[in-house]
């Protein structure tokens, strides 16, 4: 129980976010209106994705240093769950964009950048699928993982700054960070970031333990 307190915290926070996120008062802003509640669900997805992909890269580097099955499995599963968060982020973002910007896809630099980022990690899984031998698959996909992450970082953070984005906080649009998000919204937003990220780590934890056990079982079955 002592080790699992953070899982309890995650569940409690998520319940709080879903209740407070839908029922609390939010500032009345033009265009955004009630859709501002998407901040509690859409934005934390990107935080979760970035963190999980970071974990994936860290374990890819660890794999290249000490090639163990555990490092490879954690790296892969983190990429998989990061990709899931990314897809959820893009879906929640597209639904929101339809309401506020008028189109599902508005050629916004951040939208494009995240789509490219997702393509990159889909390619990672295709690459993994094309090796039969486990060690070669692990090593070469770790190399691509690091390479892709190094290319993704300038993409996500530098490119949107060069052209105007429709996103709140860019190109003269009102941002949530400075003056629009009142203290009541922050009371939900910060816990939301923490809770969704923790949920991602939790899924990663369960999934990679499961995969490691599965591998061990296969080994015993053959031996």
């Amino acid at each position: 129980m002592q080790k699992n307190w953070w899982k309890v915290v995650t569940v409690l926070l998520l319940v709080y976010i879903i209740v407070a996120g839908f029922l609390n008062d939010v500032p009345r802003l033009a265009i955004l209106n009630e859709s501002i509640r998407n901040t509690y669900f859409h934005v934390p997805m990107w935080f979760g994705m970035i963190l999980l992909l970071l974990i994936s890269v860290v374990y890819a580097i660890k794999y290249l240093k000490t090639p163990t099955l555990r490092n490879d499995i954690i790296s892969t599963e983190a990429a998989r769950i990061g990709l899931l968060f990314g897809v959820l982020g893009i879906i929640t973002g597209m639904g929101w964009a339809r309401v506020t910007w008028g189109e599902f896809w508005s050629n916004d630099p951040k939208q494009n950048a995240s789509a490219i980022g997702l393509l990159m990690y889909f390619a990672y899984f295709v690459l993994r699928g094309s090796f039969a031998e486990q060690q070669q698959r692990a090593r070469i996909s770790a190399v691509y993982n690091i390479f892709a992450y190094a290319a993704l970082i300038p993409l996500l953070f530098i490119l949107p700054r060069l052209t105007d984005s429709l996103h709140p906080g860019n190109g003269g649009n009102p941002g949530f960070g400075t003056y629009d998000m009142d203290s009541k919204m922050r009371m939900v937003f910060y816990p939301a970031v923490i809770a969704w990220t923790l949920l991602g780590v939790w899924i990663l934890n369960v999934k990679s333990r499961f995969e490691i056990l599965k591998q061990k079982m296969y080994e015993h079955a053959h031996a």
Binding site: L119, M120, F131, R139, F147, A151, P154, L155, L159
Partner: protein, 228 residues
């Protein structure tokens, strides 16, 4: 430290020389690339039904870079696939992996530069040439050749290890290369319109930064890829 740098430099020069000699002896590969560029440009000309320079500037620009992108993916894809296993093993005993990747990047840059210039020449003759700031446009082509070859060389090393390498080459490289391509297109659009050169400094520095990152990461990661 200085000693190792000197050895590395000698290795790079030697390996580049090897690649040039190989290319010269098997001219069919290079001629194939030239024909590829030529026919692609001609197909574009025919499919747009052009009679000399009636293409709008944005379309001209996009088409040019897309042709160049596919040419470079095809040209660079073979840089590790053409090496047979025996020769790789032989190289493995002689030189450092860093030497191999740097030599391949430098060699591919030269190759891409030649191909890109010839592509531009042919494209301009067949489809027309709206470029106003020639020096800036050539600088953009130079940057494009360097950028494409740096990122594609590493990707071709990764793809060559897998079974379905030609498909992998395309899907692995496109996401990595898109940011570069967008910057290049913006820069070349500025050059075509003859805008003030200060307008392109942002793109220029970003491109140089991306190139620096990609070369550094390739330099660090290639030894892991090569060890087999």
């Amino acid at each position: 430290m200085r000693q190792t740098t000197k050895v590395l430099l000698r290795e790079v020069l030697y390996l580049m020389q090897k690649d040039f000699v190989l290319e010269w002896r098997q001219k069919y590969a290079f001629n194939g690339m030239l024909l590829y560029v030529g026919s692609t440009v001609f197909i574009c000309y025919l499919s747009f039904g052009l009679r000399g320079g009636t293409l709008g500037v944005p379309v001209w620009n996009a088409l040019f870079w897309i042709i160049l992108l596919f040419t470079s993916v095809n040209a660079i894809a073979k840089s590790f696939m053409q090496e047979n296993k025996g020769r790789l093993l032989y190289l493995y005993t002689l030189v450092s992996p860093q030497g191999v990747i740097l030599a391949k990047i430098a060699y591919n840059t030269c190759l891409m530069l030649i191909l890109a210039l010839l592509c531009y020449l042919f494209y301009a003759v067949v489809i027309g040439n709206p470029v106003q700031d020639d020096a800036m446009f050539l600088a953009t082509i130079l940057l494009g050749a360097v950028g494409f070859s740096t990122s594609l060389t590493m990707i071709s090393g990764i793809a060559a290890k897998a079974s379905n390498s030609s498909t992998l080459m395309a899907i692995l490289s496109f996401p990595v290369i898109i940011p570069m391509l967008l910057m290049l297109m913006k820069m070349s659009k500025n050059a075509i319109d003859g805008l003030d050169r200060a307008a392109s400094t942002d793109e220029l520095t970003t491109l140089l930064a991306i190139n620096a990152i990609v070369v550094t990461v390739s330099y660090i990661l290639f030894p892991y890829l090569w060890r087999n």
